[in-house]
């Protein structure tokens, strides 16, 4: 089998599975429809959800369900994005400092390990209580959840550089800056992006979760309100799908940026 045909058949298999999953959902929805009082709360048909996306009926505040979802998504994702960027900067900087200064590595490393054992997301409410501002806490939580995967993975990237490569740079009297630009930073890029791929969906999850804590708007807030039947339940279903799609896309986006940035991939082979 040629590589192309193999790829095509792999795609076909994935497609069949996707369709199977949709079929399973629909069977479930039909069962629910016939047994429950308000099936749309439990498991609506997919076409009902799609219908609600294009529906022009006003759900609340003179907005359709889709308008509500999209306007609140902007609010949430924007904060998640800022937190994500701050987290990347802090994480990368910390990895750099840990690489550079042994005492900093010794102090920070056990704590980095510990952070990944602690359920940070569950501490979102206290962050909100301390910062007293929903926007700030969205950013802070997203940044915390981003910084440690970035820091640990980037540090692993720096550590992956063999002793001989340092010695090569040393033997040609490379400056400190050249050591970073020519060796350490290119070497850590794949590791760095592993960190980003882990943390991008987490930052989004975090930001939505923080929304649910207060009535100030955002995807999570709308999700809670819709669950409490303050507005159409389809707002909830749309948010479920939107957050799933955005989560997956955020991962894909990181993979795409990696492809563009990575010097190795760019030249192609």
């Amino acid at each position: 089998m040629t590589i192309n045909r193999k790829k095509a058949s792999e795609r076909l298999v994935t497609l069949v599975w996707g369709l199977g999953l949709i079929g399973l959902w629909e069977i479930g929805a039909t069962v629910v429809e016939n047994t429950k009082r308000s099936p749309q709360n439990v498991l609506p048909h997919l076409y009902q959800i799609i219908q609600s996306v294009f529906s022009t009926a006003m759900v609340s505040n003179k907005q359709t369900a889709l308008q509500i979802v999209l306007s609140n998504a902007g609010l949430t994702l924007y904060r998640a994005g800022i937190g994500f960027l701050i987290g990347i900067a802090v994480g990368f900087l910390l990895a750099l400092l840990m690489q550079r200064f042994v005492p900093i590595e010794k102090i920070a490393f056990p704590y980095l390990m510990m952070i990944q054992m602690i359920p940070i997301l569950g501490m979102a409410p206290i962050v909100l209580a301390i910062t007293k501002d929903i926007d700030k806490s969205r950013i802070v939580i997203a940044a915390i959840l981003t910084f440690y995967p970035v820091a640990t993975n980037t540090l692993a990237g720096f550590k992956s550089v063999e002793k001989e490569k340092y010695e090569l740079m040393h033997s040609i009297a490379a400056t400190d800056r050249q050591l970073y630009t020519k060796l350490l930073i290119p070497a850590c890029i794949p590791y760095f992006f592993t960190g980003l791929k882990i943390s991008a969906p987490m930052a989004i999850t975090a930001s939505i979760l923080v929304d649910t804590l207060q009535g100030g708007g955002g995807l999570g807030c709308m999700l809670s309100q819709s669950l409490k039947h303050a507005m159409s339940i389809y707002v909830f279903w749309q948010i479920v799908f939107l957050s799933a799609i955005v989560g997956i896309l955020s991962y894909q986006l990181m993979a795409l940026i990696e492809k563009i940035v990575s010097p190795y991939e760019r030249a192609g082979a």
């Binding site: 490569k165 090569l168 020519k182 290119p186 990575s262 030249a267």
Partner: protein
């Protein structure tokens, strides 16, 4: 080969000690080494593992701090020579950057040294031809065989035109056929460029075939047990390995080890 009789590297009473990684005991890697190497000379450092041959090379390259003694290269300390970028170091493994193509790997030291772009490109072409990899410049390291990768490592060390080549068992991981080919290539390159070459190996035949002189080192503590002049005429080809001269020279070197 005729070389200028000027001394390139001079070593006096060199000692290197370091603590053992596991036990923490002091290891005398090198004790009281005296050695002189002339400009344009091809000298091999030969010995079993633990004899300090790599340590000696690394001390000259300023990759290892001596405990005591003097190393003078072109009348300077190794550190000054390294800072002036006069060393070309070839490692046991190719040490290539897997995110760079062959050309860009060879280019890397020249970027570090600020050599103009046009000149860089010219020298890459030249060295690629020298090591016989002209058609492979756009490939990535993982697409090459081990022997080809090692040749890229040598090309990289040649391209920025260092005055002294320091080679640490560069062919030890290669198969016999590739090795023989690279021996001839290396002798050719040496003839063309007339560099001083210091070559570390544990392979006596290799050392005899390549060198003007062989420095035999013995372990525990690392010391020079003999210096053997190789009087096999140059230019040398594969047939040089078949003569009685060659075998005689090999056994002479073999017999000069002490306490092994």
């Amino acid at each position: 080969m005729q070389h200028n009789s000027e001394t390139e590297i001079k070593i006096l009473g060199l000692c290197v000690d370091f603590p053992d990684k596991n036990s923490g005991d002091i290891i005398h890697a090198l004790t009281n080494i005296d050695l002189e190497i002339k400009e344009g000379e091809f000298v091999s450092l030969v010995g079993p593992s633990g004899c300090g041959k790599t340590t000696l090379l690394r001390a000259i390259a300023d990759l290892q701090e001596p405990t005591s003694g003097i190393i003078s290269v072109k009348g300077m300390r190794p550190h000054e020579v390294r800072i002036r970028q006069k060393y070309g170091f070839v490692f046991q493994s190719p040490v290539l950057y897997d995110w760079r193509t062959v050309r860009r790997n060879i280019c890397m030291p020249m970027e570090v040294m600020g050599i103009p772009k046009k000149e860089r490109s010219k020298r890459i072409d030249e060295t690629l031809e020298m090591v016989g990899l002209t058609d492979f410049g756009k490939k990535y390291p993982h697409q090459l065989s081990g022997g080809m990768q090692q040749r890229v490592g040598i090309a990289r060390a040649l391209a920025y035109e260092p005055e002294i080549l320091l080679m640490d068992e560069p062919f030890s991981a290669l198969d016999e056929f590739t090795k023989e080919k690279l021996h001839l290539d290396l002798l050719n390159i040496w003839k063309k460029t007339n560099k001083t070459i210091l070559f570390v190996t544990h392979n006596i035949q290799e050392a005899v075939f390549l060198s003007d002189r062989i420095v035999v080192l013995s372990p525990h503590p690392g010391r020079v047990s003999a210096v053997v002049d190789v009087d096999i005429p140059r230019p040398r080809g594969l047939e040089s390995r078949d003569g009685d001269d060659f075998n005689h020279m090999v056994s002479k070197v073999r017999h000069s080890f002490e306490g092994v």
